[in-house]
Amino acid sequence: MSDNKQIVADIDHSLYDFKDIENEKDFYRMEEGLTEETVLKVSEEKNDPDWMRDFRLECLKLYNEIKMPNWGPSIEGLDMDKISSYVRHKSDMKGKWEDVPEDIKNTFEKLGIPQAERESLAGVGAQYDSELVYHNVKDEVAAQGVIYTDLESALRSEYADMIKSHFMKLVPPTDHKFAALHGAVWSGGSFVYVPKNVKVEIPLQSYFRLNAAGAGQFEHTLIIVDEGADLHFIEGCSAPKYNVANLHAGCVELYVGKNARLRYSTIENWSKNMYNLNTKRALVEENGIMEWVSGSFGSHTSYLYPMTILKGDNSKMEFTGITFAGKGQNLDTGAKVVHQGERTSSVINTKSISKDGGIGTYRSSVTIQSTAKKAKASISCDSLMLDSISRADTIPGMDIRTSDADVGHEAKIGRISDEAIFYLMSRGISEEDAKAMIVSGFANPVSKELPLEYAVEMNNLIKLEMSGNG
């Protein structure tokens, strides 16, 4: 048994890998490279207020000053001189699917977004390349006072001051090189405001599609969940595969008010030419709850570590993540948490699967500051190796600055046990099915946190992989 190597096929991206031709007549594409001129052009395209234009230029300066990270996967294949930071369809954003240009509508129809909106979502935003092409929120949710709109419109609305006081305050452009890049050329993304004590019963979703080759997507998501409010936000991402590098350097800033709760779920399935250098951060006030559910399946290279700052006393964070690293992929993922308030608690649960030469790295940091008396942190990271040409690395860090904390950490690395396969086979289950069942079981703590439609899709993806050449 031990010599029977698990053979698992590469992830089938064909579902996402259709290319819609972007012609010059319908699409505006900014020249490649990053200069003051291109940044000013983006700003002009967006009709930015003055403060935002100045902010972009300041970010560009920082981008040129800040060094590349000296840790994590190689990003040598990423040449900013070959990336166009802004590509958009020449039509405006629509509020009805019927009005969305045919070519773009086809893309989202193939991805099943309108269907999902009809069946299970309270609102949808759809971004195609650099701009939102569709944004809609159900009437009953809007009637509760929930704002779900594109960030640019919000910048020119009554919420302008709220955005100004929150935009890139949680992820300052000085944070790292790609945060500065984001600040310089950000475009698209959503603004969500859930007023005090409003519970949004069904999720909101944003879907990001990067269709253009050699382009970057830099959407900014800003969510403010006010005191006592409750929201589930879902984010999905995909792109067709090109043989030139694409870049995603989005930024997500989440503010969770006192007694509020926010669940942020992501299924990321970018194509394998994508450099996914995304930054996500949440600030949680007293008694607030932040829940992350994160599935990373796509991308050539990922740096993704959603961070939570537990500022308020009794605030909580839970991170559940799965990463599936296949051939040609180097996925460096994990989570970061900073405990500041008293009696704060965090739970990190991650699963990582490596196969067919893929590199899966779990990287995390748990910081317990001296003010975080009686804080509790629990970290559990499991890695499953499906062959010996892949890598599964676990690099967690802990920095604890008070004795009055309780920190537990567990990491495991291993393979599918022969005994488990033997047991299932002795019950009449084929070896392939047995392995698929075991991997699905391994991923179960993540899939059970996802909405049903997404859990089914994730499990199907795993099953497809496992039965591929098994």
Partner: protein, 389 residues
């Protein structure tokens, strides 16, 4: 001639977030003159062991260079983990926990080594005890190589002691080679004064069935660095380490332990038990590195850190690197103060909180001290801990 030391040591095998300040440690001292000091035994070396004294650091590394192909053999080409730091230590005769800067320090300062070679199949039952009582103001370095030939077994105990109020600098490099089915038991006990800067650097390799068992107690010193890198190069070799530490006042302790598992069915276990008090600062890096070809190997790393003051800084970096399907790697950590249940239990037995803390410090450190196969050194440790608590 005095000089400044500015050493980058205990480099994490893979670089991570800079804000955690765990990627390496810095040993910096201004204007220091180092003496080379051999640590000698009061007794003759036991039969079956040959001692060559004052061998140059370079020459003492010959046994490792001669076996380099075996020590570093890999079944297949490796895919490197992200931002691997191995390259900087490539020039070492055997990679050590603290790394190349310690070798350079010994080479530049004419550091010599005492080379203990254990004859084939010699089972040396009597431990070799190397005890060094250091004076206030002493600044020196020392090196040893312990080379256990096929089927042999040896136990070496190194103990450093000084007055509690003493200051100084004491750096030790110990390199180990356990050939086929040989066993090296190495014990290091550090009870230096509150002003001492100390480093203890260990590098080892085990060939087929070779074993390195390491027991370390880092209890004294103001600024302490400790590192061990052990290559489990061939089939069924093993590395078991037990480290106990106590860091208090404004002291700091910086550690880097790596089990480099290359052979099939290798076994690594690294256990860390310690206590932090006052404004002490501790960094522990522990890495299990399952390289390609290490099928059937297991690795376990456990940390139990007791934090007894509000102002301590405890950094822990437990890393598992893996490019082999058929392995089991595990890491666990429990970090915090005494549990409320335990305190309550103690109180029901008439033991107050302070006394409970004393009992738990002693219990942790004495559980490691019990592994010392020399009664005199063991009692020295127990007495030292009693004085502190």
């Amino acid at each position: 001639m005095s000089k400044d030391l500015n050493m980058k040591v205990n480099v994490l095998p893979v670089t991570t977030y800079n804000f955690l300040h765990v990627n390496d440690g810095r040993l910096e001292i201004k204007d220091i003159e180092l003496k080379n000091k051999a640590i000698s035994s009061k007794k003759e070396v036991p039969s079956g062991v040959t001692l060559k004294e004052n061998i140059s650091f370079e020459e003492a590394g010959e046994a490792f260079r001669a076996n380099k192909d075996r020590i570093l053999s890999l079944k297949e080409e490796m895919v490197s983990p992200n931002c691997e730091t191995a390259k900087r230590d490539e020039a070492q005769s055997i990679r050590t926990g603290m790394g190349a800067d310690v070798d350079a320090l010994l080479l530049e300062n004419g550091g010599t080594c005492d080379v203990y070679t254990v004859d084939e199949n010699a089972k040396v039952s009597e431990p070799i005890v190397l005890r060094q009582d250091l004076e206030d103001g002493f600044t020196g370095i020392a090196g040893q190589v312990i080379h256990a030939k096929k089927g042999s077994e040896v136990t070496v105990i190194l103990a450093y002691n000084s007055e509690r109020s003493a200051s100084g600098f004491w750096g030790v490099s110990t390199r180990l080679l356990a050939e086929e089915d040989a066993t090296i038991n190495l014990v290091k006990v550090q009870l230096l004064g509150d002003g001492y800067v100390h480093f203890d650097d260990i590098g080892g390799a085990c060939l087929k069935g070779g074993k390195i068992n390491l027991t370390v107690l880092e209890l004294g010193g103001k600024e302490v660095f400790n590192g061990a890198y052990v290559n489990l190069s061939e089939k069924e070799s093993s590395f078991y380490s037990n480290l106990g530490y106590l860091s208090r006042d404004d002291h700091s302790l910086d550690m880097n332990y790596v089990a480099d598992q290359r052979g099939k069915k290798t076994d690594a276990s690294m256990q860390f038990k310690g206590v932090l008090m006052g404004t002490a600062k501790k960094t522990l890096r522990g890495t299990l590195d399952f390289k390609t070809g290490s099928s059937g190997s297991v690795g376990d790393e456990q940390e139990d850190a007791l934090l007894l003051s509000e102002d301590v800084i405890n950094r822990t970096m437990p890393v598992i690197l893996c490019q082999e399907e058929d392995v089991e790697g595990r890491h666990g950590a429990t970090i915090g103060q005494l549990g409320e249940d335990l305190l309550f239990y103690m109180q029901t037995r008439g033991i107050d909180e302070e006394e409970a803390k004393r009992i738990m410090i002693k219990a942790r450190l004495e559980s490691v001290a019990r592994l010392i196969p020399d009664e005199e050194i063991k009692q020295l440790v127990i007495y030292y801990v009693q004085q502190i608590v």
